[in-house]
């Protein structure tokens, strides 16, 4: 059983009074294994939030199916073990942090004694223990996001869906979210999160899917997607076609940047010296070279830009 599964999921928004329909999600197929921390990535407007809204049952799909913890998305059984932090979080801000968590615990059908203990625990986890008696209205944006995270995990859910959980957080807050994610992972929970901070994602996720225009364009385990591949920035006295040709024999991709600079992509670190030899043999005057391991950001930009072509 997948923690999340979608089959040909589709959502078309039709403006009420004419206008062009917008296809936000377009035949999306996704499989999230239980127990993983899953990064759901994509450029602005790719359809991430819309997909998440379908998964939690707030939005109805136009076509296709979505399953959450083995139940149809939106079913009570699916929602029982699901925690969610919305992207545009806005809570009942006339409640205090504690009252707010108690309300959510009750809505999640927790019993009184467990709930009280759990409130203390999660407030501690998100670092708001001293502010438990403050009204949410008096919280800063980042503190509100943290109480939102606390709310999402209050009932010890099996699946936690976080739509940009760190958008309002400072670096310390972001580290805390990483710790919470780690805490959930250690307890065997599935975390499905969406973020534009790719270095964060790279540090906490096991698996990612990159979507663009409502479709999955790449999915896999991070360590498989980012195998040893290196990005090499090269500075030459002059970029010439024959040099590029020579490089292409070694590199999987060669891209001139300007008259003096080229970026190349090689499959493994060992290929870098070979690339140098190829440049020299094709008569290039090598001035400088810098190789770094491919990051998620490189992969993201490459995937999304590759799509655009």
């Amino acid at each position: 059983m997948w923690a999340i599964e979608t089959r040909n999921l589709r959502k078309v928004f039709r403006p009420l009074f004419g206008g062009k329909p917008i296809t936000a999600v377009d035949n999306l197929n996704l499989q999230v294994p239980p127990g993983t921390v899953f990064g759901f990535l994509g450029p602005n407007g790719a359809g991430k939030t819309t997909t998440i809204q379908i998964l939690i049952g707030n939005v109805y799909p136009t076509a296709g199916e979505a399953f959450v913890l083995g139940h149809p998305a939106g079913a009570i059984a699916a929602k029982r073990k699901l925690g969610f932090l919305p992207e545009k979080f806005q809570f009942h801000d006339f409640l205090t942090a504690e009252e707010f968590l108690r309300m959510h615990g009750r809505l999640a059908k927790m019993d009184g004694a467990t709930l009280q203990k759990r409130i203390d625990e999660v407030l501690e986890l998100v670092g708001l223990a001293e502010r438990r008696k403050s009204k949410i209205r008096e919280f800063s944006k980042g503190m509100q996001q943290r109480i939102g995270l606390a709310q999402a995990i209050i009932h010890d859910p099996d699946l936690v869906i976080l739509d940009e959980p760190t958008s309002a957080l400072d670096p310390l807050g972001r580290r805390r979210v990483r710790e919470v994610v780690q805490y959930l992972k250690e307890r065997g929970k599935t975390v499905f999160l969406n973020s534009h901070l790719l270095s964060e994602v790279e540090r906490s996720c096991d698996e990612v899917a990159i979507i663009n225009r409502g479709r999955v364009v790449k999915q896999g385990a991070l360590d498989e997607l980012l195998v040893n591949r290196s990005i090499v920035s090269i500075e030459l006295k002059r970029v010439e076609p024959r040099i590029l040709e020579g490089m292409s024999k070694v590199a999987r991709k060669v891209q001139p940047v300007d008259e003096r600079r080229v970026t190349a992509e090689v499959d493994e670190e060992d290929a870098v010296p070979e690339l140098v030899r190829a440049i020299v043999e094709s008569g290039g005057a090598l001035l400088g070279l810098q190789a770094h391991r491919e990051t998620l950001e490189d992969l993201f930009i490459q995937t999304v830009e590759g799509e655009a072509k």
């Binding site: 939030t49 049952g57 707030n58 806005q90």
Partner: protein, 279 residues
């Protein structure tokens, strides 16, 4: 569902709805000066004083009717779409509860609040005539029917709020009420006295559309017993049908129609909320 009811009540408190409660309480207490003033203005005998008490009761019941409906509209009109737009519901709905529980929870919350209000106000009205040495019971007999006002208008506003923002939902509800009032108080006499069939049909139609005149009859049947003599006599002309149209009596099915109407309005709003996207 209890959590949603409690949340709705808290929300009402936060929106200072109780200020409305207090202001109306004071206004109702003010009515206790009416009988004496009435007596002094019209010759000063005990009969006039009693008429003054009766008027205070009738007037007080009208105030309770009107303001409990207004309060229910204000609280219901912002309950669904406005909360979706503010982002409140996005975090509530993923909880294991059905949408109908949320909808009915909100409805129940507002209705409890309205009932508490109207009861408090009725108690105040009772006190304000009782202190004049006239403990009357009519307002208590009318209370169950007076409560139908907030139920009717609150349910309408809630149904509209399932797809309209707070200001539009309250505007349309108030417009519906104003239309029903206009048709009952202005169109009806004109249609009756000049015996215009077409206008009479419009009056009937409007009562079917918003059964406020039906509610008025139900309430009046409980309090009109204390009308001053001569104030509610039929005009001395017109055919029996015209007079019946002008002053319809309570029909057996009036209550049933109102109940069916409220149920349908509730279900329609629920259906719309159930099928719509929340984002």
């Amino acid at each position: 569902m209890g959590v949603i009811v409690a949340l709705t009540l808290k929300e009402a408190m936060r929106r200072r709805a109780f200020l409305g409660t207090v202001i109306i309480l004071i206004a109702l207490y003010g009515l206790s000066f009416l009988p004496r003033a009435f007596k002094e203005a019209f010759g000063g005998n005990e009969r006039q004083f009693e008429v003054g008490v009766n008027l205070a009761v009738l007037f007080g019941v009208d105030i309770i009717k009107f303001f409990s409906a207004v309060l229910a509209i204000l609280l219901c009109a912002g309950a669904i779409t406005a909360e979706i737009e503010r982002g409140y519901l996005a975090a509530i709905l993923p909880r294991p509860l059905h949408r109908w529980e949320l909808y009915l929870g909100k409805w129940l919350g507002v209705m409890l609040f309205s009932t508490a209000n109207a009861t408090l106000w009725t108690a105040m009205l009772w006190v304000s005539v009782a202190v004049q040495g006239e403990p009357r019971m009519e307002m208590w007999y009318a209370l169950p029917y007076v409560l139908l006002y907030p139920v009717l208008y609150g349910t309408l506003a809630l149904a509209l709020s399932s797809f309209l923002g707070a200001s539009l939902a309250s505007m349309f509800t108030v417009a519906a009420g104003a239309f029903a009032y206009f048709s009952d108080h202005f169109l009806r006499p004109i249609a009756a006295l000049f015996d215009v069939k077409f206008l009479q049909q419009i009056v009937w139609l409007s009562e079917w559309t918003v059964p406020m005149a039906t509610l008025k009859r139900l309430v009046q049947a409980r309090v009109d017993t204390i009308l001053p003599p001569g104030m509610d006599d039929a005009p001395p002309f017109g055919s029996p049908e015209v007079l019946a149209f002008l002053k319809p009596t309570v029909q057996t099915l009036d209550g049933v129609y109102v109940a069916v109407y409220i149920t349908i309005a509730l279900l329609v709003g629920l259906l719309i909320f159930w099928r719509r996207d929340v984002q």
